[in-house]
Symmetry: C2
């Protein structure tokens, strides 16, 4: 592989001049520029990124750190990030974390020269980590995460929870249950929690009773969903509708209800949250949150931060909306 020195020698000029040609500096005569470009072409020369980075002190790289990729929602967000960054000179380096230990290790390593900026998806750094990034001059933008001193784009989970619940109320349901997931990230206010708050708010506003036995939490997964669904449906006064905090769990709940002979939406209305791909195919009524757009927006913010050096922290709340499909209907009574 040829280097800038080879090009300079062959073109009979100094390395400085070649560098100027590469960087489109106006301080090169047309004649020289042409000669250099010809040699570059001839040698099929490409400047070394590494050397350029070291010299410039920049990597032209944006880190994207995400929890394991099993979540469809995370994948959609990545899509948005990729789509936005593709038109820029920035490359994307993907980091995944699965355990808390990995997570801090990754954050720690990231703060050193590897990337120019960081997009953290569904993961929030703690104060110490934020401080490290600040010292290193690496801007961080959170997507679906929270830290008061960082710019971030979040979904209006509370509003979404209320929206879903109001939809059920409007259909005439009175006994409405909630199924959610326990919060994992110690640093975030769990999305499931927020959606549950929205649920309670909506019930309260409608003057409906908030019953503890109607609010169940469990890990995502088919088995757990079956158990929770059974628990609900065997109540002396079973709910006629259920708001499930995520589509993935909602699908499992639908399946469980049908397995138990409860027709959906005939005897049980089910509404989810996220609007993942599958929802459309199985006709799940759900709250659409702009996953793809959240990736785009996050990417735009990090690009901005990369320009201005410091972006004042603020929270951008993305709106949610209801997508009515076939899994909700008025109660039969």
């Amino acid at each position: 592989m040829s280097t800038i020195v080879d090009v300079a020698a062959r073109a009979g000029v100094g390395v400085g001049t070649v560098s100027r040609v590469l960087n489109e500096s106006p301080l090169v005569s047309d004649k020289t520029r042409e000669r250099v470009l010809a040699v570059i072409e001839e040698l099929d020369y490409r400047p070394s990124h590494m050397a350029r980075n070291l010299s410039l002190g920049r990597t032209l790289t944006v880190g994207v750190i995400v929890p394991f990729l099993t979540q469809a929602a995370v994948m959609d967000r990545i899509r948005g990030i990729v789509a936005t960054l593709r038109t820029t000179p920035y490359d994307i380096v993907l980091f995944t974390v699965e355990t808390p230990a990995q997570r801090s290790e990754q954050f720690r390593n990231l703060a050193r020269n590897r990337v120019d900026g960081l997009l953290s998806v569904s993961l929030s750094p703690d104060d110490q980590e934020v401080e490290r990034f600040r010292r290193a001059g690496i801007p961080v933008v959170l997507i679906n995460g929270r830290h008061d001193s960082l710019p971030r784009v979040v979904t209006d989970d509370t509003a979404g929870g209320a929206l879903a619940t109001r939809h059920l109320i409007k259909l005439g349901h009175q006994r409405i249950a909630f199924i959610g997931e326990p919060t994992l990230d110690p640093y975030g206010v769990g999305w499931s929690e927020c959606r549950q708050i929205g649920y309670r708010n909506a019930l309260e506003d409608a003057g409906l009773e908030i019953r503890a036995e109607y609010q169940l939490l469990g890990q995502p997964g088919r088995a757990v969903a079956h158990r929770l669904t059974r628990e609900l449906l065997r109540l002396p006064e079973p709910p006629t509708a259920v708001f499930v905090a995520s589509d993935k769990q909602a699908l499992a709940v639908m399946e469980a209800a049908q397995d138990m002979g409860f027709d959906v939406p005939g005897r049980l209305s089910v509404i989810g949250f996220d609007d993942i791909d599958i929802a459309k195919y199985v006709g799940l009524t759900t709250v659409h949150q702009p996953l793809f757009e959240s990736g785009c927006r996050g990417a735009e913010l990090i690009l901005e931060a990369l320009q201005v050096e410091t972006l004042e922290p603020f929270e951008e709340v993305l709106p949610v909306d209801l997508v009515q499909r076939k899994s909700t209907a008025p109660p039969t009574s």
Copy 2:
């Protein structure tokens, strides 16, 4: 941010010694090592990746180049790659291409210092590009792509096509149609094509007639699927079953058939290919191809290639298997 020089100065040793400590060289006395480590801790020092890379001539980075991420199958493959590479020191840089021009530009840039190795998903470089990589000493592994001089992992599309078709034959179908996609990548032998070949082979083996009017191609998408489905079902002798070359298209075909009042699988059996997430939820019988595993395998191969410097080209064919769900049934005579 402190550098190796700062650490050396503060510890009262030379930079060489610090470097040795960092790289766990045995040529350092315990006493010195301890002192250096203490200073590293104290200054919260992390070596610069860029400088290290430049000096080492390696980036500890694997490039992953993929077509646009709208395909669920590509996402699953990426998952496998990420899962495998996570346990290694290699980082993943994601490149996407959308147009042929972008594609060669990406391949061209990639051949220079940016990555140590390349995983190409569903994209095959041409001879010139392969030669460039060879000269640059960058190993390339293809996942779901073909080039005779590159190691690659592919799905047994022909066998899968035959498998799907035999399943329909075994159920008793005689009039079996095929719907596929036109081949796009000029450098690959289209997967759709291979699956179609498997289809024809199976029909031939069973002594069934191969009819031209039963084999239709069209771009993926709901509208086209509707048109093709209508075309098939309005034939004087409409097929009783159809093998669709991809799940995505199969879903659209199912929908189209149902819209036209053809019950699936009552009046038309539909079988797909890929086993994407959604297939499970809608009960689509399909041919499972190990997408996640293909990513894992590709990643393993590139790691191997990175070790041995040169990996002789070979083709690893991943097996497929039938997943029977609810979209296929014996024909109602």
